[in-house]
């Protein structure tokens, strides 16, 4: 099982001091957090994509590209890549490039985004959220898998004889997770392609997660990718830890009480009982996290949210120390002992290359013949 962290990249004032980091500080802090994640032995760092304040994560591949150069094993991912408002051609190119830079240590999580105004800024309409996710992702898959693409759809300029470059590393596109909180169509999409399904599993009761994952697993089997319990599931989670659970609650409360996503609503105690948020000792986090398996089954990736709501960088790094030293080693051992042999691990670049038979030559093929329209599809296979 892979363990890691995911960040939404918000700039939020620290309620205990009133001070917000500058954008420069926040961008750099994401990098510091990612490097620390590798140092403490985590597997994955994932970064969100937003195009509006208070977020600073509009350009994930820039940050992830830098982190790749400074790390050796960490898998870099997104949480999420906006498949609705980002041109799929640009996603194909950006992430194929990142794959080469990263020697394959990269995957993606697709999401729709939920802030209404962002859609029109990119010439889209939020009411088309699902159709955009369906059409754009289909195009993205073809751009990665077919050397020359002729394509026409509803939302984007048609493509004739288009080759997305660079071609994916070793001929194998990055593994894709589809993230959604409660849209069955997105779980269906993940199941249809045999891709991973990620539930962010924070801010809402676990019943939503359970229903979505169960549906995804059932449909994964329906589409013939394997048995339901072999489907590839990722979960989020949110924790705040101190050795003593009372200290954790006392320290986290001001952040909870004023955080934009929580403030003014249910109390910290209500929220921790109603959602997977866990504020307490490392032992409590271990117990709660192991309990996720009870309602989603054996799953492949667990990402924690630890760096939002204005928590200072120093505190976030302390959380990473606790995760790396006390929590994740126990979770790794316990989850591994429980997992049946036929349940696969999360796909990696190496496992995808092995599944494809071998690495393919990634030489750019000749473009389509402009006169006959004939493409090289098939000729290279």
């Amino acid at each position: 099982m892979q363990f890691g962290i995911f960040s939404v990249g918000d700039v939020t004032p620290d309620p205990t001091t009133g001070r917000a980091p500058t954008e420069a500080e926040r961008v750099k802090s994401l990098i510091t957090i990612a490097l620390k994640a590798e140092e403490v032995g985590l597997d994955v760092f994932a970064q969100g994509q937003h195009h509006n304040p208070p977020f600073v994560v509009s350009s994930p591949t820039t940050t992830l590209g830098y982190i790749v150069a400074k790390t050796e094993k960490l898998v870099l991912s997104t949480s999420t890549t906006l498949i609705t408002t980002t041109d799929p051609v640009k996603i194909a190119e950006d992430f194929a490039t990142l794959q080469h830079v990263a020697d394959g240590r990269v995957d993606l999580m697709m999401g729709r985004g939920n802030t209404g105004p962002v859609y029109p800024w990119f010439g889209k309409d939020i009411r088309d959220g699902i159709p955009l996710a369906v059409e754009n992702y289909q195009l993205l898959r073809r751009l990665w898998r077919e050397d020359v693409v002729n394509w026409e759809g509803k939302f984007r300029t048609p493509l004739q004889g288009f080759t997305s470059t660079p071609r994916p590393l070793d001929g194998v596109p990055p593994f894709v997770w589809h993230g959604s909180i409660r849209s069955p169509q997105i779980a269906e999409q993940a199941a249809y392609y045999g891709d991973g399904f990620f539930h962010n599993h924070i801010f809402w009761p676990p019943e939503h997660t359970e229903r979505m994952v169960e549906f995804y697993r059932r449909r994964f089997e329906h589409y013939g990718h394997g048995s339901a319990d072999q489907a590839i599931v990722g979960l989020g989670g949110q924790v705040f830890m101190r050795k003593n659970s009372q200290d954790a609650v006392r320290e986290f409360r001001p952040y909870f009480d004023s955080a934009p996503v929580y403030g003014g609503g249910p109390s910290l105690e209500e929220f921790t009982s109603q959602t997977p948020l866990t504020v307490g000792s490392p032992e409590q986090v271990i117990e709660r996290t192991l309990g996720f398996r009870d309602y989603v089954g054996d799953y492949q990736r667990q990402l924690f949210l630890i760096d939002h709501a204005g928590l200072p960088l120093k505190t976030v790094l302390e959380q990473l120390d606790i995760l790396g030293e006390e929590v994740v080693p126990v979770l790794r051992r316990e989850f591994a002992a429980l997992k049946p042999a036929h349940v696969p691990d999360a796909p990696t670049h190496a496992s995808l290359v092995a599944a494809a038979g071998c690495a393919k030559d990634a030489t750019v093929p000749a473009p389509a013949d402009a006169v006959t329209g004939r493409t090289v599809e098939g000729a290279q296979a």
Binding site: E188, F203, W204, R218, G263, G264, G265, P266, F271, Q274
Partner: protein, 206 residues
């Protein structure tokens, strides 16, 4: 003979509450009217006062806690709905509006509804028509023609009370007529049932 479920939403804030009193009168009359048409009725009352904090929490967190979710399921799954609010600042109360705000926007589509309101003065008597009916029209509920408004003096008895009783009876008869004309309510469609439309159809943009 069928057994119908009737959900009753009362937004009264005091105990005892004249809003609840009107809701109870409307409920009893509707149960009688359904019995006269040959149907038994199961009544489920949702007192919004008990969910005031749950509703505020839902506004900020985006999800209903368990007690509120149970109340929502009761209303959404009922064959008919009686909804009664006190008049606050010339309209339904904020508590009443919030409950209908947190429902899915399709949750009441086609549902037979009887509307009632209470106030201290008869000068608010058009609140049902001017405030409540547009709200339920937006929600695409089927609202009976008679809305029942009760001012303080309507509870005084005598001729006025007979007038209130007449309105209650007429409205209850209208609601019972709509309810019996329909199949017993099914639960809302399960969004996690296996899709009726294949993913191939979605890919084709259908």
């Amino acid at each position: 003979m069928a057994t119908r479920t009737l959900a009753v939403v009362s937004a009264g804030l005091s105990t005892p509450s004249s809003t609840r009193l009107l809701a109870d009168r409307l409920t009893a009359a509707t149960v009688d009217a359904l019995r006269a048409r040959g149907d038994d009725t199961t009544v489920e009352v949702v007192e919004l006062r008990g969910h005031a904090r749950d509703l505020a929490d839902d506004l900020t967190s985006g999800f209903a806690n368990q007690p509120l979710q149970t109340a929502i399921d009761t209303v959404v799954g009922a064959d008919g709905l009686i909804a009664v609010t006190p008049v606050f600042s010339a309209s339904y109360s904020g508590l009443f509006k919030t409950f209908f705000d947190v429902l899915d926007k399709e949750a009441l589509t086609g549902k037979p509804v009887l509307l009632g309101a209470t106030a201290g003065t008869p000068r608010h008597s058009l609140v049902v028509e001017h405030a409540m009916r547009p709200l339920f029209a937006y929600l695409r509920a089927v609202v009976v023609p008679t809305g029942v408004f009760a001012a303080a003096e309507d509870w005084a008895g005598g001729g006025i009370d007979r007038s209130l009783a007449g309105r209650v009876e007429r409205a209850a008869g209208e609601l019972a007529g709509l309810v019996t004309g329909r199949p017993v309510a099914a639960r809302p469609a399960d969004p996690f049932a296996d899709p009726a439309t294949s993913f191939e159809e979605l890919l084709k943009g259908r």
